[in-house]
């Protein structure tokens, strides 16, 4: 049995008395693509937000990469190696494509304010390194032609790809993707699925993703966790989850 990268143990969360997650447990193996599925309001985004330190769990524990993930702040989560993309891309609208991707490297920067203000050698050297890394990621995601465009002028599908690049450039151990294909057409979805798979294959990134398109989920993921009203109703490889009656009742059987 390969060792898990992430263990979610009995995690609960509530908002003003409303339970969003109820003693949820699941684990994610190193190098796998794990999909969280379930109807709207099932608590999928809440799981990601807890892992990112945006929400604080009311109870339970999370073990990540061999250590407890306590009450952390988002910046700390990023530093521990948890990357994230967003449902609505949440890009920095006033920055170019390359600057958006570069922002993902910011936490690794070692320059001081003085280095930056005076353009001292350390800042120059670091900038050269960062630009090379950004160009590599942009090339990997076929974004090189759009490098200098203001990101808010890009079509939505490309924005989602920039979002992915911004998360990948820092080489996270665990990458959380919140509906990476929402609002895309078939071709864009296939491209995105290809990028996600090759991120896992070439960079070794472990991936947890939320996605509504069941076809995409079953084709892309190694492991599926099904949520309904904050509780887990299914967990296993796609082939098993597809035929689980409880899952079908909660989610798959419902017309979209």
């Amino acid at each position: 049995m390969p060792e898990p990268l992430l263990d979610v143990l009995d995690v609960s969360l509530s908002f003003r008395g409303l339970k969003a997650l109820d003693a949820l447990s699941f684990s994610v193996t190193r190098g796998e693509i794990c999909a969280l599925i379930g109807p709207n309001g099932a608590g999928k985004s809440s799981v990601l937000n807890i892992l990112n330190g945006v929400y604080r769990a009311d109870g339970g524990a999370i073990v990540f990469d061999g250590g407890r993930l306590g009450q952390i702040r988002p910046v700390t989560a990023a530093r521990r190696g948890i990357g994230r993309t967003f449902q609505h891309a949440a890009l920095f609208g006033g920055l170019s494509v390359r600057d958006n991707v570069l922002a993902g490297l910011s936490r690794k920067s070692r320059t001081t304010l003085l280095d930056d203000a005076l353009g001292l050698p350390r800042a120059r050297a670091e900038t050269r390194g960062c630009l090379a890394a950004a160009d590599e990621i942009l090339g990997f995601l076929d974004l090189a032609p759009h490098r200098d465009r203001l990101v808010s002028t890009l079509p939505y599908g490309l924005q989602k790809r920039v979002d992915l690049g911004r998360a990948l450039i820092a080489k996270p151990k665990l990458l959380l993707l919140d509906e990476p294909m929402a609002g895309m057409n078939g071709e864009e979805k296939r491209a995105m699925a290809r990028f996600i798979r090759s991120a896992r294959d070439t960079l070794g990134t472990t991936i947890v993703l939320i996605e509504h398109d069941i076809g995409v989920v079953l084709g892309l993921s190694d492991h599926v966790v099904v949520l309904d009203y904050g509780r887990k109703v299914g967990d296993g490889p796609p082939s098993q989850v597809r035929s689980d009656p409880a899952v079908i009742a909660a989610y798959l059987g419902k017309p979209q």
Binding site: G53, A77, A90, G93, L95, A103, L113, A117
Partner: protein, 361 residues
């Protein structure tokens, strides 16, 4: 609302993210510098120096400071006047108490002290966001003005609230003539703007804009948000502090807390709204606008209405015009004069590149 709708509207600020200046831009900046440093001293008289050029340059710098904090990093501040006051009083005390320090170092020291005060004022930004930041910065505005009035040490126990500034000299050269004060102001503004230009293009500037455009997303992808906010307050206040020192020494000739009141903070904010939030050149355009409009208005009312309007009425009219312009810009052109100018240049360039303008669809 998505997290990208941070303190300022996300759709702002195209001008700053283009990669290091286009040749046209560089040429424009060089030309402006040449005019300011060579041509102006040949033609300008004392009125131009005292009423237009010096206040324009200094307010551009004050606006630039606020623009770094608010336009680039998205941290709303109504404390510009206070930071200017700190810069002025700190420089005054450095000149007075550490006379061995040459003038540029006193100015720099005044700016750094103002920056440190700005850092402290910015601390609440680690816990509160957006509009709410108006409160701590206003608190600073009132508390700092009060401090300079109450604590005699800062004004060397002067009996009047306006202390006359010490004699301005550098390397034995007297700088107290209008041309000398202009030279000092211009040199300071060029140096500070150059540093600001480097900074907004660096990783620090990128972090600022990331925090502005989406604080939550920035934190989640690992942008050091606290560092970005505090450095934006520090640098912005330091720049405004240098502007305050120049205002006292190169423009007014006196150090007076009353010239750095809340209205000064508003004025700086108007400069960057009209000029362009998140644009370095916008600070200069906005300042030119703010300095020139009253002069134009009083000339205009003089020619149109004869002698009918006194100074108070002109000031009232001016308030109306400024207010209307601010609202107009916010509604129609949130990126200010800098964006208007940018699109004008674009249009001219396109016209120049198209041999047959009638072939347009």
């Amino acid at each position: 609302m998505p997290p990208a709708a941070a303190a300022l509207d996300g759709r702002a600020l195209a001008a700053t993210s283009t990669p290091a200046g286009s040749p046209i831009r560089a040429a424009g900046i060089l030309a402006a510098l040449a005019i300011a440093a060579v041509a102006v001293p040949v033609v300008a008289d004392d009125y131009w120096y005292n009423a237009i050029l010096i206040p324009f340059l200094i307010m551009a710098l004050a606006g630039l400071g606020l623009n770094l904090t608010m336009g680039f990093a998205g941290q709303a501040s109504l404390g510009t006047g206070a930071f200017m006051a700190v810069g002025a009083y700190a420089t005054y005390n450095l000149l007075l108490r550490v006379p061995v320090l040459p003038l540029p170092f006193s100015l720099l020291g005044g700016g750094l002290i103002a920056g440190l005060v700005g850092l402290v004022v910015g601390l609440p930004s680690l816990r509160i966001r957006g509009f709410y930041l108006v409160a701590p910065t206003l608190a600073a505005q009132f508390l700092i003005a009060w401090t300079f009035n109450q604590v005699g040490w800062f004004s060397n126990y002067a009996t009047s609230s306006a202390i006359s500034a010490p004699h301005l000299a550098l390397l034995g050269r007297d700088l107290s003539s209008p041309a000398g004060r202009y030279a000092l102001t211009l040199a300071s503004v060029v140096v500070v703007t150059a540093v600001a230009w480097r900074l907004v293009r660096s990783r620090t500037g990128r972090d600022w804009r990331a925090v502005r455009d989406g604080e939550t997303a920035a934190a989640i992808i690992g942008v050091p948000v606290s560092r970005a906010k505090l450095s934006a307050f520090f640098v912005g206040a330091a720049v405004s502090g240098v502007a305050g020192a120049l205002w006292a020494f190169a423009y007014l000739g006196t150090v007076d807390a009353r010239s750095f009141d809340l209205d000064r903070s508003f004025q700086a904010m108007f400069i960057i709204i009209v000029g362009g939030l998140g644009s370095l050149s916008g600070s200069f355009l906005g300042a030119a606008f703010i300095v020139l409009t009253p002069i134009l208005l009083s000339h205009l009312s003089g020619t149109i209405l004869g002698t009918g309007l006194d100074g108070g009425q002109i000031a009232n009219l001016q308030r109306v015009v400024f207010g209307a312009l601010i609202i107009g810009f916010l509604i129609k052109e949130p990126n200010g004069l800098a964006a208007l100018l940018g699109s004008l240049v674009d249009r001219l360039r396109r016209l120049a590149h198209r041999p047959d303008p009638l072939g347009e669809d």
